[in-house]
């Protein structure tokens, strides 16, 4: 069976801690791979994962500015505008974690080692677990992506282009050979969204089959 992996599957797999049920589920799903074939789209590998790493670095610089410069107004830097609300929550948690550190140098050292370890684990995952990289970024169908984008973001203030590109890649690859999408994002990635593609005359003709979708939490 061919499984098209959402980025969160990788991020959970490389994670730490036993509080998060998704980490356990992701590890179980990947480690019990058996005959499953894992697909990853180029967009996730070449753009979305590097962008996620970049955001963690922005988050770190914001944190350093906040703890190291009493004159710094939190989130006043230009790059901090790229952080989401959830990143701000992470900063608060990290500051709490670092409160016990007597030396700010240790914060940098630990953070750098942690991020490096995440990068290393991601690279190993891609190298060892992924069977095939699919749909080069330049081949993503713009019409398909735009259509998904419209319905993905209905009523939402945050416009999610990344999900639209990833889902479009999955639908395109499904046209070549059947696959099942695996994600943990029940709120955005759903069957109704995929069905919207068939409410579009041209896209229905172009993509007569739609992929199945499974959720990590349901496995």
């Amino acid at each position: 069976m061919r499984w098209f992996l959402d980025m969160c599957i990788i991020l959970y797999y490389v994670g730490e801690g036993d509080k998060e049920i998704f980490i356990k589920k992701s590890r179980h799903f990947v480690d019990e791979k058996g005959q499953k074939e894992f697909l990853l789209c180029h967009y996730i590998k070449d753009e979305n994962l590097p962008r996620w790493i970049d955001r963690q670095k922005i988050l770190f610089r914001e944190l350093i500015k906040q703890i190291n410069d009493k004159n710094y107004l939190p989130y006043s830097s230009e790059e901090s505008k790229r952080l989401y609300e959830r990143d701000r929550k992470k900063i608060i948690k990290l500051i709490t974690l670092f409160r016990s550190f007597s030396d700010n140098k240790k914060i940098i050292k630990n953070f750098e080692r942690a991020v490096q370890e995440i990068e290393v684990r991601i690279n190993i995952f891609i190298k060892e677990k992924i069977d095939k990289l699919v749909i080069p970024v330049s081949d993503i169908d713009f019409e398909l992506k735009s259509h998904i984008f419209t319905f993905l973001n209905l009523g939402s203030s945050i416009k999610n282009d990344s999900d639209a590109k990833t889902i479009a890649s999955a639908i395109q690859e499904n046209n070549n050979q059947n696959l099942t999408i695996i994600t943990a994002d029940k709120s955005d990635w759903n069957k109704e969204l995929l069905q919207e593609v068939h409410n579009h005359y041209n896209l229905k003709k172009k993509y007569p089959k739609l992929p199945n979708i499974n959720y990590l939490q349901d496995l």
């Binding site: 959970y12 992470k90 050292k109 750098e112 080692r113 995440i118």
Partner: protein, 356 residues
């Protein structure tokens, strides 16, 4: 009655150009107005003066060209207020003279600047001081051997300071550049970054390559000292990228199991990149500090000169960082045992991954 006008010779015009440029940089257009001649004539004379090494072009864009005398003693040829220039020259020339009397030798450039900075600070003299690559200096620079020539051209303006005070300060200094720099960095509380930069260069150049952990510590300390204002944000990011890749190299199998020569090679490239970052940061400092002393009508040009210098420096950083980043493709990270804190960081960063 008609007044017969005598036609100026080309040499006289060139002399006049040089005379006007004593007041600081001027555009070809401004010089044409001052000399009552057309743009292209003045432009060709300026080209001749440039070929002769008497003037330098410091700005050129479309039809706007700005020239400065080659001996104009302000960094980057920036137009310093005339009184401030003369006061700076007074102080420097006084120190050069007194040093000769006190020590019987010629002072070198670094102690000259460091003594001047101390005298300005301790006697509350209103002479501009800026931070540059090697610490705090005056905005004016001078080869001590050329003092008489420079003073003759630009003149001096007396400051309220007596020889005894200068002599006392001279007695606290040596003619050794690195010692003078170190002394300044250590005695000024706002120069920790300079001191750290010196430690980094010293540690790497002295081949302390068996202690990468200590060097990484210095790099981390350095990050904590970089200003966080928005104007330094790009550099802050580049420096962060730099320490990330250094961390990766130091944690690789190839680095840890490599020969002495291989480790030296890595260190050489790391130091080279660090130097570029340092040059850029101190150039940012320089322009930030000097801005206050620059004539108002030159602010736009100042910005252009600043941008063009920094553009070159940032390209250099990008090139060197890219070379270091290439190592990430070839080096194998060694297995690291994460501490509980590091695991905690990973746990926090990867929370809510389904929203990504």
């Amino acid at each position: 009655m008609t007044i017969k006008q005598t036609r100026k010779t080309p040499e006289e015009i060139k002399e006049e150009i040089l005379l006007h440029l004593k007041r600081g940089p001027l555009s070809t257009k401004k010089l044409s107005d001052l000399l009552g001649s057309n743009w292209s004539t003045i432009n060709s004379y300026l080209e001749e003066l440039k070929d002769r090494g008497d003037v330098r072009e410091i700005y050129s864009r479309e039809n706007l060209k700005i020239y400065i005398r080659a001996d104009y003693p302000v960094f980057y040829g920036l137009p310093l207020d005339e009184d401030k220039l003369k006061e700076s020259l007074f102080l420097l020339s006084k120190i050069i003279g007194r040093w000769k009397i006190v020590n019987g030798s010629t002072i070198t450039k670094t102690p000259l600047q460091k003594i001047a900075v101390e005298l300005i600070k301790n006697n509350s003299l209103n002479v501009p001081v800026v931070r540059f690559h090697y610490g705090k200096v005056l905005t004016t620079y001078m080869e001590p051997e050329k003092i008489q020539q420079i003073v003759k051209v630009y003149g001096v303006k007396k400051l309220n300071i007596v020889d005894k005070t200068i002599d006392e300060e001279i007695n606290k200094h040596t003619n050794i550049a690195w010692l003078e720099r170190k002394k300044q960095y250590e005695s000024h509380s706002d120069m920790k970054l300079f001191l750290l930069s010196d430690y980094v260069s010293y540690s790497i150049s002295k081949n302390k390559i068996d202690e990468p952990g200590k060097i990484l510590d210095l790099f981390h300390n350095f990050l904590l000292e970089i200003p966080t204002d928005e104007k330094y944000s790009l550099l802050f990011k580049k420096y962060h990228d730099f320490i990330s890749v250094v961390n990766f190299i130091f944690n690789s199998d190839q680095f840890n199991n490599g020969s002495k020569e291989e480790r030296e090679h890595y260190f050489k490239e790391i130091l080279n990149t660090f130097d570029s970052l340092w040059q850029t940061l101190t150039t940012e400092f320089f322009f930030n500090d000097i801005e206050f002393f620059i004539k108002q009508d030159f602010k736009e040009i100042l910005q252009f000169i600043k941008d063009s210098k920094l553009k070159t420096y940032y390209s250099e950083i990008d090139e060197k960082l890219s070379n270091l980043l290439d190592y990430k493709k070839t080096l194998t990270p060694k297995k690291i045992d994460l501490s509980e804190d590091e695991k905690g960081i990973i746990e926090i960063l990867l929370e809510g991954a389904n929203e990504e």
